[in-house]
């Protein structure tokens, strides 16, 4: 709880900065409206107006928070298509869209982590893979995901793969890389002395892996999983953009920008950020529990 105070201070500062920016960003529109109506705006009326426009350039924090609340709890509990009235999630709620994105993210993250770990194991144990895989892995990340995502979707669509899988593959594409890099480092963390010790026991390669390399790599694994899950979420959102997807946080961002619904865009952005932060926090929790049980207080 001691480190909550600085966090709150910074948050308060950022919100104040945000409010301060809202006034000049939206003032033009407010003044234009007033001129058209032949009115004279006082400063306080101007400020009040910039905070409650329907389609502001920059929505105020309370508008975004209100939209987040309305499009989650209110929509599901009272909406005609909400969960309370129909038993299924409303397609107008951020919970529904968040879940669509989250499911692709989690699937992509799972595949990406497994692939990353498998590649790292191969790189550490196989000389040919050591020499050949890493340059390709790095090259794969230099291609802008926005350029390659539509192609992956189109190609998969052509062979009849649609829905969750293409998005998950793009998540995989982004999330395997930090896991490879982290796990190669982690599996190579044991020093020569520890490897020599294993040799004096005439341990097999499998035993060295299970008893030395794998446990040594744990702190590295969790660090890369945190990066990977955030990357997986970005991948899933990006995958929803070029396809005209009708569901998902990416779809909300896209439709928001089509119709100039800035409040909707910002609330989708915040939903994505909250989702990412929660997932990173969950991995952090698993990390703490695991490392504590391993005697490595982290």
């Amino acid at each position: 709880m001691r480190n909550l105070f600085p966090v709150l201070i910074v948050t308060a500062f950022l919100i104040a900065l945000w409010y301060a920016a809202v006034i000049p960003m939206n003032a033009q529109w407010a003044q234009d409206q007033a001129r058209r109506a032949g009115q004279d705006l006082s400063f306080s009326a101007l400020v009040a107006d910039t905070m409650r426009q329907q389609r502001p350039r920059l929505p105020a924090p309370h508008q975004v928070a209100g939209e987040l609340w309305n499009s989650t709890v209110v929509e599901e509990m009272t909406g005609r298509r909400g969960w309370w009235n129909t038993g299924s999630l409303s397609n107008r709620s951020l919970i529904y869209h968040g879940w669509v994105t989250l499911s692709a993210t989690l699937l992509g993250f799972a595949i990406g982590s497994a692939l990353g770990i498998a590649l790292a194991v191969g790189i550490v144990h196989n000389r040919a893979m050591d020499a050949s895989v890493m340059p390709w892995a790095i090259a794969s990340q230099t291609i802008p995901i926005l350029a390659i995502a539509p192609m992956i979707i189109v190609v998969l669509n052509a062979v009849g793969v649609t829905g969750l899988i293409p998005k998950a593959i793009i998540s995989t594409y982004l999330s395997f890389f930090p896991v490879v890099v982290g796990m190669v480092k982690g599996l190579r963390a044991p020093d020569q002395m520890q490897l020599d010790l294993m040799k004096t026991y005439s341990a097999t390669g499998g035993q060295v892996f299970a008893k030395l390399r794998w446990p040594s790599a744990m702190p590295y694994l969790f660090a890369s999983l945190k990066v990977a899950i955030a990357a997986a979420l970005v991948g899933a959102i990006v995958a929803e953009l070029p396809t005209g997807a009708v569901a998902g946080l990416g779809a909300r961002l896209l439709s928001g920008s089509y119709y100039g619904q800035t409040v909707q865009i910002w609330s989708a952005l915040f939903a994505a950020a909250i989702l990412a932060a929660s997932m990173v926090a969950i991995i952090g929790l698993i990390q703490r529990v695991t490392l504590r049980r391993m005697g490595m207080a982290a």
Binding site: M193, Q194, D196, K199, T200, S202, Q207, K211, M296
Partner: protein
Amino acid sequence: MRDTTTAPVISAQGLNLTFQTNDGPVHALKDVTLDIAKGEFVSFIGPSGCGKTTFLRVIADLEQPSSGTITVNGMTPEAARKARAYGYVFQAAGLYPWRTIAGNVKLPLEIMGYSKADQQARVEKVLELVELSGFARKFPWQLSGGMQQRASIARALAFDADILLMDEPFGALDEIVRDRLNEQLLALWARTEKTIGFVTHSIPEAVYLSTKIVVMSPRPGRITDIIDSPLPRERPLDIRDSPEFIEISHRVREGLRAGHLDD
């Protein structure tokens, strides 16, 4: 005092080892010939680069000699390693931070496929041997450096290897802890009757512990003197003030100096 009619446990004949480095070949061992009998406590002493650690690593099959022959228990070092003929104690304790002390001692037993019950019994036995019985469930970071090194000795003792190879095990510890560990090591040696190869920088440590002191010198790494200690096996710490002890220490020092004069 010892039965020297039986075959030596470790026997090296004309051993050479050359490392290829970027600065050209380094002659780490030159023409090393040495026999170690069962139950001996042999110290290797010399300045850095004299090949004492390299020789120990050759015995352990961690380095391959360039020429010459060496047998361990009558086998090649590789066969001896696979037969689990020795336990090795490194300069650093190298305990796994994610295992408790008992877990660390258990490590070689797990790898070698001992039964669960046997593992438990052996862990208890060797921890008692190094006086760490109460610390089985502690993690390494909860122990002092000297205790960690004792745990690593327990780990090397856990499977019944006849030979214990120790590479400057107490090098990083302060003198007071070191004295105590030396005393404990002698007691342990007397109880277990193992053959011990011990690398050290310290003359008093070598003389206090050993039945045989091998003095080595660098460039190329070679043996300059082999001293069979006349000290009795039973050695209280104050034996270090006896005339015999001082005389052997003097001879070791002379041997080390002679090695340096050759440079």
